[in-house]
């Protein structure tokens, strides 16, 4: 069994419990990264890049665990997968709207303090979070895979 086949097998036989663990890891890492970046603690300069790297890793693993379903075009998917993907985007859309409105209301008048050296990573993490949010929704909603009939 070559490595690409093993990776493919790992993706398609992903258990829901594994996806949920990755989802929790994803949420915690982003929460830590944003909390560390927006706080004014002295050790921020060390912890912020580590938290950023772990958040990126969690996004990558989460995206792999749902076989990168949200990024696939219609031609690569069957009807059920298309329905799952589009449904995930609908929920992600509502989460993003709610978050954007909440952030505007909370920090709209006061502003937020982000140290100069962390502004780029903070914006990058926001973009990557938004890009992987549908994958997080799929990781939560998608049921346990049906065992392969061939195996």
């Amino acid at each position: 069994m070559n490595s690409s086949h093993r990776l493919n097998k790992w993706r398609t036989t992903q258990k829901r419990s594994v996806r949920l663990v990755l989802l929790v890891f994803y949420i915690i890492m982003y929460a830590i990264h944003w909390a560390v970046t927006l706080s004014n603690i002295d050790t921020q300069i060390v912890f912020a890049p580590i938290a950023f790297a772990l958040a990126m890793l969690s996004s990558f693993l989460l995206s792999l665990s749902v076989t990168r379903l949200p990024d696939k075009s219609d031609r690569q998917l069957d009807e059920r997968q298309k329905s799952v993907r589009d449904g995930a985007y609908r929920i992600a859309f509502q989460i993003l709207i709610f978050t954007a409105l909440l952030v505007t209301l909370v920090v709209g008048n006061t502003g937020i303090s982000i140290p100069d050296q962390h502004r780029n990573t903070f914006i990058s993490s926001l973009f990557i979070w938004a890009a992987t949010l549908p994958a997080a929704v799929i990781a939560w909603l998608e049921p346990e895979p049906i065992p392969d009939l061939e195996s």
């Binding site: 303090s113 100069d116 914006i123 973009f127």
Partner: protein, 167 residues
Amino acid sequence: MTIDQDIKNPFPTPIKPLRVRRNRRVLTAISSVFLIAAIVLAFAKLGYLALPALIVSAVLGIVLQFATRNLSNSTNLITDERERALRDHAHRIAYWIMAGVLGGIVGGTFGFLIKQDPSEPVMLVKDFFKLETQVFIFSIAAIFLGLPTSLIAWLEPDALDDTILEN
């Protein structure tokens, strides 16, 4: 509520002109023009002109909501497979438009302020309670809240003529 009960969409069937895609597209275009005008006027600090533009756009948005029978906010219980597919597809397109616009706003704000004193807070909006700022915020919110509906109004084909079905 039991599963046997016939759950129907509470929104009435739209009037005949709104069942035609061309008319819905015209309404969507006019609503978008007014919304963009509201944003531009708010930027130009003409709040007293931006507010009416936003109100007109909001009214047209409500008309579109009725024209699409509020499909964008309908639950799975009151939609069939085709409507669900259309609703979710519209949200998928809206998601990427929204991510792009929000990304542009946030990225642009930070990029613009990158040279400011790091100890000063980054202000996403200035003079939060001014009329222009409020109109701007509500216009952006209206874009996002109305985007799936506008896309559905744009994509949904002409409704079938009832007489065909009856015959």
